[in-house]
Symmetry: C2
Subunit: 433 residues, 2 copies
């Protein structure tokens, strides 16, 4: 019995429908990213270990895959796209700001996986970031971009939730949360999706006295609309930081309104878990919660991180977000009908005409059609079964008769409809179908 070679733990092969869908999503995101003036940046999957270990708590550090080269240099696989971006900016002094880049590429984490949630040890992050713009116009552009991405992915029915870390800080001050407990409180608030408001209340109560909890919970409750929420918070926020955050929210809401983005919701309870956010935080949800309850896109502003990485005192404003390809693909697979399982538009079956068929295939390909053909001279029934198993819709039979008439007998494997088509007209026939 031969040894069995298995795939590594926590990773996945993508083929058939999955691979085609992944390509479609990447193409769509790329197209929209470029439409918004983002240009591609590909950084290597391997970075020096010290670069990857610059940020992030112990939990993240543990999940970094490390390795050494033959020269015993300490290396690491990238675990996100943000640190490589910071390293790139730090090591390229001639970059012009604003710097708008997108990246679609794999990141690596040596942690627990949840395939049913689309979580693997290798996953693909599709990130857009704007560096060097302080004004909320950057956020406004990103919200419009997010809308277009989801619309073109066929997931147009979304809610974009926004909040602001400075404002949240002001809210915590208002509720009398001491600085030492702010981070913990934010981390609990971030679980709202998963454990609901009651769960959050319960967890915070173990941290803080009831009156503060009540004050906090009431402060982060949304109003009936953005305007009401804004008014309510204006009335209670007094810290300078909090006021600035609220002002930024106001600006962003104004921009959004002028752009007609009417699904933007100001939600003061929104608390992204990552500690590097300094201003706006963003999460996108599908309106139809039956598909997926948690956020499908997340991001925000992190004005301190890149400067800190560069060791400079100068702040480099940064705002962006990240699509998880596997997650988006999982959602689309769930709700979309008719995901292609093959890119092939026509499968040619020669009946003792292999050489001529190869020529015909060649000429159809030169017209831009995706053509496959039976290279094994199978029997017709077998060849049709094979084409059907790949998910190809049309087969084209080429026998002596067809050759004489410069034709192909094209059969739709779904409707069983069959028609002899002149070779010159195949392209038209398949495109109009």
């Amino acid at each position: 019995m031969p040894k069995e070679f298995k795939i590594a733990k926590g990773v996945k092969d993508w083929y058939g429908q999955d691979a085609i869908l992944r390509n479609e999503i990447k193409d769509t995101l790329r197209r929209v990213f470029e439409r918004y003036g983002y240009n591609p940046l590909e950084t290597p999957m391997i970075e020096r270990a010290e670069t990857m270990k610059f940020k992030g708590g112990e939990e993240i550090q543990k999940e970094i895959f490390t390795l050494k080269d033959q020269g015993r240099r300490e290396l690491a696989l990238r675990f996100d796209q943000t640190l490589p971006l910071a390293r790139f900016v730090a090591s390229n002094k001639d970059i012009k700001f604003p710097f708008k880049r997108y990246v679609i590429g794999e990141v690596f984490r040596d942690g627990p996986t949840q395939p049913e949630q689309g979580r693997y040890r290798i996953f693909t992050q599709c990130d857009v970031d704007i560096l060097g713009v302080k004004d909320m116009i950057a956020e406004a552009e990103l919200l419009a971009l997010a809308q277009d991405c989801f619309k073109e992915l066929g997931l147009g029915n979304i809610i974009i939730k926004i909040n602001n870390r400075k404002l949240l800080d002001g809210v915590l001050d208002y509720a009398g949360i001491p600085t030492s407990k702010k981070i913990e409180t934010i981390i609990i608030l971030d679980k709202m999706d998963k454990i609901g408001i009651e769960g959050v209340k319960k967890e915070i109560k173990s941290l803080l006295p009831k009156e503060k909890v009540d004050k906090l919970i009431s402060a982060i409750k949304k109003g009936k609309n953005n305007n009401e929420t804004y008014k309510k918070l204006t009335a209670i926020i007094s810290s300078k930081n909090g006021k600035q955050g609220l002002d930024e929210i106001k600006q962003l809401l104004d921009y959004s309104k002028s752009l007609g983005l009417n699904f933007v919701e100001f939600d003061p309870s929104l608390a992204r878990g990552l500690d590097y956010y300094t201003g706006t935080t963003i999460e996108v949800y599908l309106k139809d919660k039956s598909v997926v309850k948690s956020a499908v896109l997340a991001g925000g502003r992190f004005d301190n991180m890149i400067g800190a990485f560069m060791g400079s005192k100068q702040e480099i404003s940064a705002v962006g977000f990240s699509f998880g390809l596997e997650r988006v693909a999982m959602i689309l697979k769930d709700i979309k009908k008719n995901i292609k399982s093959s890119n092939t538009e026509l499968y040619l079956i020669p009946i003792n005409t292999a050489k001529e068929c190869l020529k015909i295939a060649h000429s159809l390909r030169n017209q831009g059609l995706n053509i496959d053909m039976d290279l094994k001279e199978k029997r017709m029934g077998q060849a049709i079964t094979y084409a059907a198993s790949l998910g190809i819709l049309y087969v084209g039979i080429i026998g002596e008769d067809e050759l004489k008439e410069d034709s192909i007998t094209i059969k739709n494997l779904k409707t069983r409809e069959q028609k002899k088509i002149k070779i010159d007209e195949v392209c038209k026939y398949l495109k109009v179908k």
Copy 2:
């Protein structure tokens, strides 16, 4: 002084022109691959170490990057796309043959780099392979595909050299080369590109007596055309293996002729270095040797490898080849004029009209244009300098006057031509330019 975070050794960031060119090449190859009925397969970049170490001599083994996960499992970064393909096929029993897949993805080698040759520790292999077809029709399809790829890349002027490992074996028999010295001889022949015929002669002479060298060198010399080369070899080859190889060459030449692939050259001196080839070997060269002398594409038939990997006695026919993305990009960068450095088609400059400009950008984007805009309210001169530095051709100025007239003043930064265009007509104006 802050610590400096550098990129890791032997790898590269791709941005600007390079990143855009890489995307263009990948898009082109993918389009042609799909036109020939290949479907995508993405295997993970991390495999079990034992999978990656299954094949390849000591030199290759040394260049495999290995790592461990938290569970102390031995892992490796993939160093090619062929072993992962074999592992995939071995672990998916329901695959239908013929199995035609393409892959465009990174591979990793911990070895010496030659940036000037496009060789890095991480590079991108674009592979197509057909599994399960013994007949030369598979090779014929691949040659047509190679032609189309180079044509669409703008490198149409190529020579495709073909040879056959069985035939080469027959030639070695004819020259009286003992089995024990065949591999070494093939490895020397493979250097023909680099050291020329005289260099090859010299090296083989240290291995074999002069008369055998002379016999070999005269046998692998091309005739004036494929027909002559074929006739010459028919006259001298007597081993069964050699005859079969020659017969396969004949079949492939016939198919090629019928497909009109008239740049296919039968070259009996062609000897790919890898020992896993069992039949046809293929190399593609640019006709213009001033651009690049060595092969730009290489591949062949390896009928034993996948079966051996699966531990089965059953042979799984396989033939394919591999484009090196970095190498193709290097060549194109060398010879192509007008490689884009930005995907942005128009850079909008608001003159105290940021909010309105954002709206106009949004509506132009919704018409499919790639739009960037000044988010910093720079002075006009600065904004133009910035757009020019990114390589954007058109800027569009939007002041009070333009707003009143629903227009944009569009300026071509190359010709300095400037014209006020109605917003409705911008799309048309930029597309016809």
